[in-house]
Subunit: 531 residues, 2 copies
């Protein structure tokens, strides 16, 4: 291995799955494995086949998934006390998982041996040795996770070292020092890891937790002390306060310390990948997340915005583009107009900053934001706001009325709501109805059915994503909701947004924007093709 290379070991599917609120379907897991492989992480810990039939099923499915870069890893414990390795069910499951790399975790803290697994200190060392030897004979690459290593080292240095030595002698390729409880300080991590580096010959890894908000710093300190593998989760999810956040560690190692991590071309996909994984985990990435968060390069203070406009490095520690993120000036009393001008000029390049429509659009967007709108990732709605104010917009239909009826019990098993809609296009009236799973689905079907009579091209468009967010959740069912819709027609994707106290109304606003955006793009394409 190159001198300054650091290997990235992702445990989103194992330690990450132990985070509060995380629950993966089989399809979710496949998606995560594929995107981590594309990012060129070195190891993907896919689960604990011995503890969980779902994990075993997943390993079977993984045999059909072709990976270009990453090694799939199965995770499991040392053999149980006082039995032979051949008789240990967990080890059998690890072998039948089909993974070529196995992480074996064992105890390095004497207290854990005597009080938790309740066996003798010498038997625990034997368990580590026997298990690793057995797996090596079976042709596996073995990584030893020395659980609670730092706590163990502080309590009983000799014993902690004995567990490492046993793993090394038994053939482990990497020995990973774990701060399992997240209670170690950066300087402790540094000095202990440095000492270990001087006595252990195999590769060293670090596995840290964020219980003191130091998992990232501790991982970096361990690398500086000689570790060459970092275990973490891509977006930091995990038991309690989470694991070391790889999306923070990777750019820090690469951009600040010059280590070789992943391939050279992957860093620009960091933000996109983190957000995609968050989507699959069904969690919202914190805006404040380093490097990849929505606010990581967002400037709000007037003085900051002014300075960044002169020179970005005045308030940015790296260029956001390096990690695929972007600079944002938050729309507030002091900023905004120049950002909004950029949006306007994308559609109407001839509008200059002194045009009075610029101020009007800025005011209107601010007003909508005040009402709970959020335009980040809702370009479709932004374009429609701009067009409406500039006057380059005319409605494609007029809503006369709609009615939604939700019933329980409902006449059909499949559906639960009916929508009736009445619209006018060019003086011609169209009334129709549709059934759906819930009121929004019924309304979506009904408006499309009515409009397709006039605009058959709408058949190409479909919704691909639908998100509901309760804004002021404390006012409970009266709270405002924001609906974000993503649509595609196979050529382009666009997002639109609606806000209301009524989820149907909010969905309707976003839906109408989505349809009108599609129809405008079709006209533009026709115009372009003709002239």
């Amino acid at each position: 291995m190159a001198q300054n290379q650091v290997k990235i070991f992702d445990s989103t599917l194992r330690d990450g799955a132990q985070g509060q609120g995380i629950s993966f379907s089989l399809e979710d897991k496949i998606k995560i494995v594929k995107v981590l492989d594309e990012m060129k992480v070195d190891y993907i810990e896919a689960g604990n086949p011995g503890s969980n039939p779902k994990d075993m099923e997943f390993f079977k499915r993984l045999k059909d998934v072709e990976l270009k870069n990453a090694k799939v890893v199965a995770f499991g414990s040392t053999r149980r006390p006082k039995i032979n390795v051949e008789d240990d069910k967990n080890l059998k499951d690890l072998l039948s998982s089909g993974a070529d790399t196995i992480v074996v975790f064992g105890k390095s803290w004497d207290f854990q041996v005597t009080d938790i697994i309740k066996t003798s200190l010498s038997e625990n060392v034997n368990m580590i040795k026997d298990t690793i030897e057995y797996l090596c004979v079976k042709g596996k690459e073995v990584i030893f996770d020395a659980e609670h290593f730092y706590d163990g080292y502080k309590a009983n240095k000799e014993y902690a070292m004995a567990t490492l030595k046993a793993a090394e002698e038994a053939g482990a390729k990497v020995v990973v020092l774990c701060d399992t409880n997240g209670g170690a300080l950066p300087q402790e991590i540094y000095s202990i890891t440095k000492t270990i580096k001087e006595t252990v010959k195999v590769e060293l890894g670090i596995h840290s937790h964020d219980d003191m908000g130091m998992a990232v710093a501790n991982s970096i300190m361990a690398v500086e002390a000689g570790a060459s593998q970092i275990q973490g989760t891509f977006i930091g999810i995990g038991e309690r306060c989470g694991n070391a956040n790889l999306s923070t560690i990777i750019p820090t190692l690469k951009l600040k310390l010059g280590y070789k991590v992943l391939n050279d071309n992957e860093l620009v996909n960091l933000t996109k990948t983190s957000r995609y994984i968050a989507e699959i985990c069904n969690i919202t990435l914190s805006d404040e997340d380093p490097f990849v968060g929505n606010s990581a390069f967002a400037h709000k203070g007037g003085m900051h915005i002014d300075a960044v406009t002169k020179s970005p490095k005045s308030y940015e520690h790296i260029e956001p583009e390096l990690v695929g993120n972007k600079r944002r000036f938050l729309v507030s009393e002091v900023s905004g107009k120049s950002t909004i001008l950029q949006e306007i000029q994308k559609i109407f390049p001839n509008i200059s900053k002194d045009d009075k429509s610029v101020q009007k659009i800025t005011d209107r967007l601010k007003e909508l934001e005040y009402d709970g709108y959020q335009f980040e990732g809702a370009e479709g709605t932004v374009e429609l706001v701009i067009r409406k104010i500039i006057g380059k917009y005319k409605p494609f239909f007029k809503l006369n009325h709609f009615k939604i009826i939700g019933e329980q019990p409902y006449g059909s098993e499949e559906f639960s709501s009916t929508a009736v809609i009445n619209i006018t296009v060019d003086g011609q009236n169209e009334m129709t109805a549709a059934e759906g799973e819930g009121p929004v689905n019924a309304l979506d079907k009904a408006i499309r059915k009515a409009l397709e009579v006039f605009y058959p091209e709408l058949k190409q468009a479909r919704l691909v994503d639908y998100k509901v967010r309760v804004l002021d959740s404390e006012s409970a069912t009266e709270a405002k909701v924001r609906v974000l819709i993503e649509s595609t027609d196979g050529i382009e994707s666009w997002s639109t947004v609606g806000v209301s106290r009524d989820v149907i109304q909010a969905s309707w606003i976003a839906l109408v924007d989505s349809i009108e955006y599609k129809l405008i793009k079709d006209i533009e394409r026709k115009v372009k093709a003709y002239f």
Copy 2:
């Protein structure tokens, strides 16, 4: 100052207010000042009176607020280039704020002087010197924030040192080294701070940002190198990725390193205070926040739960009670029968682990989780599942049917939906209707109205939180949604959950659980009072 004392400087109202989405009213600010004073922080930075008339107004109001511990601080820049201190409007405002302690920020990075404020390096040093001397003469305690100090030191060591020296000689009581852009590494912070400590005689402070997720570690490293003041924000809010999180730093300094911080009795209020400040900031504290987050001491993995039951220190780096937080065992698919048994025994202490209902309940919860349910933080629904299987449940009403009509246009400005409901209680039929903002709000009102005829105690209960999550968002408006409802009756709070492809149906499931849970608790209280 005692050798190992570290002073805590909170900037929630100044740097924190620059975080995305943060906007304080005057009353919010007063509340935050009071609670920080109760926590016995040493300094509260209340705003920048020269930049903002709102901040000036707040300083005026603060004159009437009596504080027991903390010093209120006003923040402002050095004088502008090429003018006299007496003529500087910002300095006038700082003085008329009435604050006895003033933070003066000035540039320590040569590039910022030449390229951003566009003056000469020597003039910038004069600006620092003149400003601090002037404020000292006026009797103020002056803290100098050496903005961009670490970047400046790395770029031009001599110049960065010259700015510190100017501040020291002019009478600054504390010189604060700022990692304004959050791009410095723990070891850099340590070694640079240590060097400064050897040459500067006044107190040193550290001000760090979280752009690499290291603000906490960097603050601790600076203290270890000799700094005795930490600037941060109580829950970590601030420009871009936020400031150093004091709610993580305080317990780390106190419990792990033995520094004197705040008073000895305040640590148990840490969790409560953090959550209160988050409420006022109108943000949700991350579950994963170290020490104070909802999941900081939550255990999900079966092996972890088993070990923590034997000895908490096996997977907890401190006792949660020390910081006023608590241990939780999460009910989920990776947690085993033993967690579920604990949930059962909370309600039915006599049920043993061999009772066949334990397996049935485990299976049922897993089945529901597979369907998209999530029971972490939905104890109300868990209790009802347990009761239904054990047979200690009987429905409080029978739904005959409901009908929801959403219309646009609607007859009233205020509402947009009508719900009609028909239920039976003890053979007596009740039919009623209600209007609401959206279908769920209308249904919520209608079912309560119908049930209050039979159960007037329901009037005490109300929803306090309502969350909607789209589960498989790619199937768009046909996607499954999960609704989480939190309710309270003033005595207790409880959460319930429902899943369906129809948002109305999902809300209905959670709503019924919420109501039934309340009615069961009322019966339990009555029984307890009687026997």
